[in-house]
Symmetry: C2
Subunit: 417 residues, 2 copies
């Protein structure tokens, strides 16, 4: 393959995860070793927005030790965005600007780190550069706690979130049944369309400390049916733990907060409804209907940023996906997303890299297989456990200082042309 | 001292913690080694309620390995209660029943594990037994994440909750500032009258990732003043992280949910107002007033049961407090609570045991010293850091299985006379 000399631009986009910076570390640490090909390594401030605004950092100015610590630092250290690019045939403005900036800074390697929407952005830019005849190798680096990217066994960020969710469910289970009185606990878990994260609560059941009922958005939600489910468990034990996805909706397309709320639900710039309040709404409803103590718990931001409870294999795989993007692009590949393939041939879980065409990945959502959900639609079966348990096996080696996480400290020196 | 032969009763009471079972482990493991003095070791189901109902477990029937694992198992494994004993001079019924059960089962050692209310219960029973001329050695084993027990440097359970809160604040800090838009985050932390837990968020500031504003119940809360504080920080950085105790109240005695709620706030059997919703109420208010994205986060049950993030010194000290209760009682002491004294003479943190008369401890609350809070009443100073940082230094050695905590499994064999 031909050698392409130039500079590298890396951006982070969408919601953060515990390990998104591990991918950044992989890209930066690998790229900085290829100064014969890649002269400058830039990190875009707030993803595509930083590129449009010509605001990015010179990563060679960072202390190598701090770049290593990025592996254990949650959330997007470069800053993120939720900026949606128009289709180029509708409005070319942003694309022209990206091309202008790429030319100005001689960007020949562009890597974008994110989930579905970000892979869409990455794909659009890749195709635009191709059509414009501008030689730039574009790679998608996956990231999403939602685990809903197409074509990959799992997504960087999911395993750590799953480990936190399962651990927390076990702990809440212990806490929620100490009194000799009835108690219902509703745990609200993220996941707009795919139930992977909520399903992770099922892992706690393997240890005898998990939810009694699990509701995923893959199945239509029915409030009356849920009430009957809860009453049945409550009658038996007086204690009910419910894991519910923020994204469950009725067959009419109503989300739980909409079942009682009168105001319109807010919408973000991608047109996604801003959900939340599911735990509170359900808890209030069940309290009224059943009459015992009900607690609504939202795992909120913690489920995506609890790096102290990250899965070490998630960290290592995220780092590897970043490194691989650099290595493959230098080798001449472009227009791909780095994905994972599970290899159980040795008898234990191993993760292999595979490359997926960006256009196949962009905007295709992978959901929990319906055959992993029980018939009643209120629990997840052992096929999910078989899939997810190997992903959370290893404890994070996060360095600590005074008993608290030691996060990376970046200088963020702005690049100049 | 005279040797007193008989059986031992141990009960857990009040809200659970990450390490309350470590104290139970200390009591059981130590007591089972003294079969020459203590014939049977009982664990009361749901604290004093289990005694009144004659429902308790024979702890000698448990696997010693599982008793060891209690150190790393959160929440009250024997079950807890919030049962309030009347004063004996008003209503003697319950006391007579306790004495009856103690006589029936020859209970000569009674240890009660809990916070302020539980020490009150323990003290009342101790005094009643003395007045009744029934020879029973009574010891309070402290437990409360609230850290508000009188006379002890700190309370078992606090250090672990503080470690979780500080760690989580650091992670949320990282997450809450990734976008290039304004963001306010309100973190609601437990603590009805004392601000120790909310103050623990200050430890995150030592690592550069902590709240901008911290509000404790030790100072009067003023919504207008808070709004001005928030606006000031927001104007500078566009990002504000607020740690607020669920227990803050105005000088008129109104809690935050009461500032907007119209319904009466529920009250538990001790007459404590059932708080909650502070984060949501404040977040809604700030969103309306400032207009940016505001997220309310309630650390909920997780802050008291996140054993995966416990402080190992907390586990060890809790275990030691249980053991000490047994050893001292066998030696002849009674009517005391086990407390801690800090020893910094070696240059590093060490914890020594001291004994405090139960009557001094019962119902006296220890609050955060006012001189540890800044003049504006919206932050905590370095004196708190000096106090709390040594308590969270060590990582928990919690055993894991498949990457999840391995909690103790008890048989709970009911004792019979």
């Amino acid at each position: 393959m031909s050698m392409l000399k130039g500079n590298l631009m890396f951006g982070q986009s969408g919601g953060p995860t515990s390990v998104i910076n591990a991918s950044a570390a992989g890209v930066f640490i690998e790229a900085l070793q290829h100064s014969d090909v890649i002269e400058n390594v830039y990190g875009a401030a707030n993803g595509i927005v930083g590129i449009l605004n010509e605001k990015f950092y010179d990563m060679s100015k960072e202390d190598p030790k701090e770049l290593e610590l990025l592996k254990y630092t949650p959330s997007s250290m470069l800053g993120s965005c939720r900026y949606k690019l128009a289709n180029a045939d509708v409005d070319e403005t942003d694309y022209k600007r990206v091309l202008e900036v790429f030319k100005k800074y001689n960007i020949r390697y562009f890597f974008y780190n994110g989930g579905n929407d970000s892979m869409d952005t990455c794909n659009k830019i890749s195709k635009y550069m191709q059509n414009a005849g501008y030689d730039c190798r574009v790679m998608g680096v996956p990231k999403t706690i939602d685990n809903d990217l197409f074509g990959t066994d799992h997504c960087p960020g999911f395993s750590s979130a799953a480990k936190y969710i399962a651990t927390t469910c076990m702990e809440v289970y212990q806490d929620a049944r100490v009194y000799d009185t009835g108690m219902i606990c509703v745990i609200e878990i993220m996941g707009r369309h795919a139930g992977w994260l909520t399903a992770a609560s099922r892992l706690a059941c393997e240890k005898g400390c998990g939810p009694d009922l699990i509701y995923l958005p893959e199945r239509d939600f029915d409030l009356d049916k849920m009430l009957a489910d809860v009453k049945e468990v409550y009658a038996k034990t007086g204690k009910v733990i419910i894991a519910v996805s923020e994204g469950v909706q009725t067959k009419e397309g109503k989300f739980i907060p909409e079942l009682v709320a009168t105001d319109d639900v807010a919408v973000d710039s991608f047109g996604h409804k801003q959900l939340g309040g599911t735990a509170t709404v359900l808890a209030d409803y069940l309290k009224k209907e059943i009459g015992c103590k009900v607690r609504g718990i939202e795992l909120s931001l913690m489920q995506r940023c609890a790096s102290h409870c990250a899965s070490q294999s998630d960290i290592d795989e995220s780092f590897l996906s970043g490194r691989t993007a650099v290595i493959k692009a230098i080798e001449g590949m472009t227009d791909y997303m780095v994905g994972f393939e599970r290899d159980m041939s040795s008898g234990k879980y191993e993760c292999k890299i595979k490359l997926l065409p960006l256009s196949e990945v962009a905007n295709t959502e992978k959901k929990v297989p319906l055959e992993w959900i029980n018939e009643a639609g209120n629990f997840v079966n052992e096929k999910f456990v078989e899939y997810a348990l190997p992903l959370i096996a290893e404890e994070s080696k996060q360095p600590k200082e005074d008993g608290l996480p030691r996060f990376a400290k970046l200088k963020k020196v702005l690049a100049s042309n």
